[in-house]
């Protein structure tokens, strides 16, 4: 027992000596000068590294275009977005009789549609139907897409978006991709898994060509 204590004291003393050794004036095994030198070294070394890294990052950023990303190969096609946002994966469960179970969905839809209301979009351009809306700049404008185009889904007539009638409306939005010029008429097909029919608004799910292409956040207001 005493032996153990002694060795513990010994190691404690050793640690104290390592922490500060009064004879050699070493702190953590180094003298003040040594610490100074090593810190200076790391300051210079790491400072240089940091500067060099910043410089290369800056040089890399110089090669980029502000308006269009350098490469667009990773998003060859636009993704589709579904509203209301599903909680998990792409499944909705709600009970018709319990409004609180679909309350969130409705809120989500309303929030989404807010920016598509007529008032919000009145500054936007009315574009020609059926042709790509190509612009040469310097000012790029966005086409109007008012919520009345969604007909029944717009929620104007049905504040519950059909959820209370077992006919939930689901909005599908197409992702913005710079320079996407579809050929023919892009359309979204909605198919039901079972016998129930799904009715699509925007006739046959066709998205008018006038909404393409997109010229990037910086140029193109939305």
């Amino acid at each position: 027992m005493t032996k153990g204590e002694k060795s513990f004291n010994d190691s404690l003393a050793e640690w104290k000596l390592f922490l500060y050794n009064p004879t050699t004036r070493k702190f953590l095994g180094r003298t003040a000068k040594s610490w100074g030198l090593i810190l200076l070294f790391y300051l210079v070394c790491d400072g240089f590294l940091a500067a060099f890294f910043s410089f290369t990052m800056w040089a890399m950023l110089q090669t980029l275009n502000d308006e269009v990303p350098k490469y667009r190969d990773q998003i060859p096609g636009p993704g589709l977005l579904v509203f209301p946002k599903p909680v998990t994966a792409l499944e909705y469960t709600f009970s018709v009789s319990d409004p609180s179970s679909y309350e969130g969905c409705i809120k989500d839809l309303k929030k989404f549609l807010k920016s598509y209301s007529l008032e919000e979009q009145k500054n936007l351009t009315n574009c020609t139907d059926g042709v790509l809306f190509e612009q040469k700049g310097p000012v790029y404008v966005a086409c109007r897409f008012a919520d009345f185009l969604l007909q029944a889904c717009s929620g104007r007539n049905d504040p519950d978006f059909g959820y209370s009638q077992r006919q939930p409306y689901i909005l599908v939005e197409i992702n913005r991709i710079i320079g996407l010029n579809p050929e023919g008429s892009p359309r979204i097909d909605c198919i039901s898994k079972d016998e129930n029919t799904v009715s699509t608004y925007l006739t046959h799910g066709i998205i008018d060509l006038k909404y393409f292409p997109y010229y990037g956040k910086k140029l193109h207001v939305s």
Partner: protein, 994 residues
């Protein structure tokens, strides 16, 4: 006390006790044996109190209940057999193969990786319970980790399985059959059925079937080399000649060979109780020392594992406190551990070692235990045998004395350069005596073989003389034919001379020539004249003094001296038809004419002095351990440089200053010759003092057993000790040594098995080559480890940044494994082919406790300097990929949560584009691949940096190591295959880069 320290192999063999023991006591004894297992070694070191050699035949009969004429009865023999068990050596307890295999599976980093893999699966399990569609990523990762462990484990197991089993050779030595007398009948029975008390007969060519006490013998000689390492045939008879059972002539030992003659003896010990059985169990009882490289690697594993676990836990805590989910934090933890552990390194080290082992095998060093490759490099003391290792293991004529002059002969391996004056008439006579008075002959059918390589029938000295005269005179057989031998007295120990009578080659000359050789003083006694410059002169006092001076001088060189004389018989007294009768000695054997002296020695190998000098400049102490006489040992030591020309022993100083040995200041002497007798009286402290204070030490007259004491003494000095040996008795010392080196030609199988390395050419110089390779491998391993550790920071940083800054994950765990086990493996092996930088043989051997494989300089340089740069470089590549695709570096910060949400399909980049989950995942993989390539390219640069540690890259030569370039090419090719070929395999997470 003194005797007890000497006889370390002493065996507890008290026959009287054995016979008294009843069966019940036997049971007890076995239990005791188990209990005493730990004391086994100590017990074996006790005095060999075998006293059978002192007993008379009658006492033996009584003791063993046998009858010398009729033998044991079959019933009695069966009883003994049941009691003692069969006469075989019991194999040591083997570790089951499966245990060995499992040990490989949990050693080193494996345990860390197993934990990682299990955590992965647990994490998946939890995810799966919460959400059935959880991604399989962590399962893949777990499988990959487990695969890595299993594959490296199998690899290591395979390497270890190559190591051989020490007992295998002992069992091979067992004689198959023995001729015994039982029930008054001679029977041939399998040797393993021999029991104590059996009367056995042995004849020339047999292996002795058990330890036997000889009862009668007819010219029996045995070769005890398998026991003692000394191959000189030893006569065996029924007389008790020495107190020590190992030295007495009336005991024959199990497994030794009977060379000639016949003998009858009574079996006194069988199986494991024989002397050799005791040694065998001692050899397997001596734990082999952990090799220095194993210690180093363990040290390294501890450092890395310590860093991995502490960094992992630290960030686990940080992650949890940053409100990450525990499950996610566990995944981070795994990532950090995987990034920190150099998975491929241990396999690389094994491959590197085996490559060097192959290279050494080409240079005649066969390495059995891979790790021993490096041990040799850190060796600081070599305890070398003399015979066969430092010397050529044959006799050769070293000096001649005639015409009052000493001449030197060429003792090199081919002896072609015999430069001494051969014009004197004395030489003509001397050479004739040498050629004629010799019974050795070349075995026929060796016409095209160089003289030195021809096989000779005859003893060592006669062989030396035959070859010597063949080289100088030409065809000796032809000379002997021309000078027909008419009578001959072979050498015997009473006469101490050999004589033959020949016709002269001149057909006209009807004289007979008597030629005689033998112990110089005996020869001189028989001479009345001496030949000087071809003229016979009376043997005066001055001539006799000259003879004695020369004799003493040659003897002082440790050489075996022979005197030669001849006599032409007068024609009238000995006509052509004279019937010479060697038994009646009807011819003069005195008043001959003394011709000259000739001395022989086992000459040093010509490469040895150079090799010893190399060792010395490399800071390695060479200690010679031999059974030879101190004078011979010292002479050989001086001639090979084990004692350098300028050093003196205490005795030398005493002689030079004409003072008593006690008065000499021991500090003045650098060399010491210690005999076995002195060693036996020495306390360990005294031995330590000698080993520490003298730089040049020769141990002479040592029994091979004392080697173990010497080795232990050296190891107490913190030295890494290499020991050479060839006898069975050497095997404990070979095992005890840090590296045991057995002789490939002279060595017994047991020695080879106990050793870590076998010298195929028995040549000391090969050891030095081995040392060089060993040091090189240590240097190169340092490079390999530095190279491997560097990328750890680059692999670790992504996780840290990911956790703290919230970037999309820069590199996946599986991708990391592809760096560790894919692109980096071949380049790190390629570093093993790097040539030595400066002359590695000019620096001191590394201190096994101070010069570590991985020290903090290496770690800091790798981790903080190069590693940091590498991490920055890789991040640059990563940011570039994201920026070019639309995510500017600033937009990435804290993007992680949104980025990884599966249901978010519209994450907007800096340009306003919206990314679906799948697109983001794909971009993330592109990022992985880019980061991977970034590290890979920088590792190429790192590889070139690591080529050198001290020299500049231009001194070392950029293109000298071609394998490095193969490594670089492999790196690029593997990266290309991974990023372009396997891009479609989901689990690998690689994508094509543009």
């Amino acid at each position: 006390m003194s005797r007890k320290t000497l006889e370390i192999y002493s065996v507890e063999l008290d026959g009287t006790k054995d016979t008294k023991q009843t069966d019940q006591e036997d049971d007890k004894k076995y239990n005791d044996l188990d209990l005493k297992k730990s004391h086994q070694k100590e017990e074996l070191k006790r005095e060999l109190d075998l006293d059978d050699h002192k007993l008379t035949s009658e006492e033996l009969e009584q003791k063993y209940g046998t009858n010398i004429i009729t033998g044991l009865s079959s019933a009695r023999a069966a009883e003994h057999l049941a009691r003692d068990g069969p006469n075989t050596l019991s194999p040591p307890k083997q570790t089951p193969e499966i245990i060995k295999f499992l040990k490989q599976m949990v050693g080193g980093f494996s345990i860390l990786l197993w934990i990682g893999a299990v955590l992965c699966w647990i994490a998946y399990g939890i995810q799966y319970v919460n959400d059935k569609s959880a991604s399989l990523d962590s399962v893949y990762l777990g499988v990959v980790l487990a695969l890595v462990v299993i594959l490296t484990g199998i690899f290591a197991y395979y390497q270890e399985a190559k190591s051989t089993n020490i007992m295998a050779s002992f069992s091979k030595m067992i004689p198959q059959e023995a001729l015994v007398i039982r029930d008054s009948e001679k029977k041939v029975i399998p040797a393993e059925q021999l029991v104590v008390g059996d009367i056995v007969e042995i004849k020339g060519g047999d292996q002795i079937p058990a330890d036997i006490r000889l009862l009668s013998s007819q010219g029996c000689k045995v070769d005890n080399s398998s026991l003692t390492g000394e191959s000189e045939p030893q006569p065996r008879s029924a007389e008790f000649t020495h107190e020590n059972p190992l030295e007495t002539k009336n005991i024959g030992f199990y497994s030794t060979t009977c060379l000639e003659g016949t003998a009858t003896g009574v079996v006194i010990n069988t199986g494991d109780r024989t002397v050799i059985g005791r040694i065998a169990s001692l050899a397997s009882g001596v734990g082999s020392e952990k090799t220095p490289i194993a210690t180093e690697i363990e040290h390294f594993v501890h450092i890395v594992a310590g860093v991995a676990v502490s960094v992992g836990l630290l960030f686990f805590i940080i992650a949890v406190s940053l409100k990450y989910q525990v499950l996610d934090s566990i995944i981070f933890l795994i990532g950090i551990i995987v990034a920190n552990v150099p998975e491929g390194l241990l396999a690389t080290v094994t491959v590197t070692l085996s490559l060097t082992a192959k290279r050494m095998a080409k240079k005649n060093c066969l390495v059995k235990n891979l790790e021993a490759v490096e041990t040799l490099g850190s060796t600081s003391i070599i305890c070398s045998d003399k015979t066969g290792t430092l010397t050529q293991n044959r006799m050769a004529v070293a000096h001649l004395w005639f015409d009052n002059q000493i001449f030197m002969a060429d003792t090199s391996e081919n002896q072609l350069n015999q430069a001494f004056d051969q014009s004197s008439g004395t030489w003509a006579s001397l050479s004739k005596i040498i050629a004629l008075c010799n019974r050795a002959e070349f075995r026929p059918g060796q016409e095209n073989i160089p003289i030195m390589k021809k096989v000779v029938v005859g003893d060592a000295s006669e062989t030396a003389l035959l070859k010597f005269s063949e080289v100088i005179l030409g065809d000796v057989m032809e000379i002997r034919k021309r000078n027909r031998k008419v009578a001959e007295i072979p050498f015997n120990s009473t006469n101490k001379f050999q004589l033959s009578i020949h016709e002269t080659e001149d057909p006209e000359d009807k004289h007979f020539l008597v030629v005689m050789k033998g112990a110089p003083e005996r020869i001189l006694e028989r001479c009345s004249t001496i030949m000087i410059n071809g003229q016979e002169q009376p043997l005066g006092k001055s001539n006799a003094t000259a003879f004695h001076t020369a004799y003493m001088e040659l003897g002082g060189l440790g050489e075996r001296v022979l005197g030669f004389c001849h006599l032409y018989l007068p024609e009238d007294e000995f006509p052509e038809s004279y019937p010479f009768d060697v038994d009646a000695m009807n011819f003069p054997t005195s008043n001959l004419c003394f011709v000259g002296l000739l001395s022989m020695i086992d000459p040093p190998r010509s490469t040895v002095p150079d090799a010893v000098a190399k060792c010395r400049s490399a800071g390695i102490k060479v200690i010679m351990v031999t059974g030879d006489h101190p004078i011979t040992a010292k002479a050989v030591a001086k001639s090979v440089g084990v004692i350098s020309a300028s050093s003196e022993t205490v005795e030398d100083i005493a002689r030079r200053c004409s003072i008593a040995v006690e008065q000499v200041n021991k500090r003045d002497a650098r060399a010491a010759v210690v005999t076995g007798m002195e060693l036996k009286d020495m306390a360990p402290e005294q031995l330590d003092e000698i080993l520490a204070n003298y730089s040049e030490i020769v141990f002479a007259r040592t029994s091979p057993q004392q080697k173990l004491i010497i080795v232990e003494g050296c190891q107490r000095q913190d030295a890494v000790v290499a020991v050479t040996g060839d006898g069975v008795n050497d095997s404990p010392a070979l095992k005890k040594a840090d590296i045991g080196i057995a002789m490939g030609i002279a060595g017994s199988d047991a020695a080879k098995n106990a050793a870590d390395m076998v010298l195929l050419d028995d040549n000391f110089a090969s050891i030095v080559t081995g040392v060089e390779e060993g040091r090189l491998i240590f240097d190169n391993l340092k490079k390999t480890i530095a190279y491997t550790l560097t990328k750890n920071i680059a692999e670790l940083c992504p996780f840290l940044i990911y956790i703290i800054v919230g970037l999309p994950l820069p590199i996946g765990t599986i991708t990391l494994l592809f760096i560790d086990l894919g692109t980096d493996i071949i380049p790190s092996i390629a570093l093993a082919y790097e040539k030595a930088e400066s002359d590695i043989m000019n620096r001191k051997p590394r201190h096994k406790k101070k010069d570590r494989l991985v020290n903090h300089q290496l770690a800091i340089y790798s981790y903080l300097h190069i590693g940091l740069m590498q991490a920055l470089g890789a991040f640059l590549v990563y940011f570039t990929v994201y920026a070019q695709q639309g995510f500017w570096p600033t937009s990435l910060i804290n993007l992680r949560v949104r980025w990884e949400k599966d249901e978010l399909n519209d994450v907007e980049d800096s340009y306003g584009q919206e990314w679906t989950r799948y697109q983001r995942k794909y971009l993330e993989w592109t990022g992985y691949t880019a980061f991977f390539v970034g590290i890979m390219v920088q590792q190429i640069a790192d590889l070139i940096i690591r080529k050198t540690r001290r020299n500049s890259i231009f001194q070392q030569g950029l293109f000298r190591n071609k394998v490095i370039w193969v490594g670089i090419a492999s790196q690029i090719i593997i990266a290309l295959i991974l990023s372009y070929g396997l891009g479609s395999v989901t689990a690998l997470s690689f994508t094509m880069l543009r």
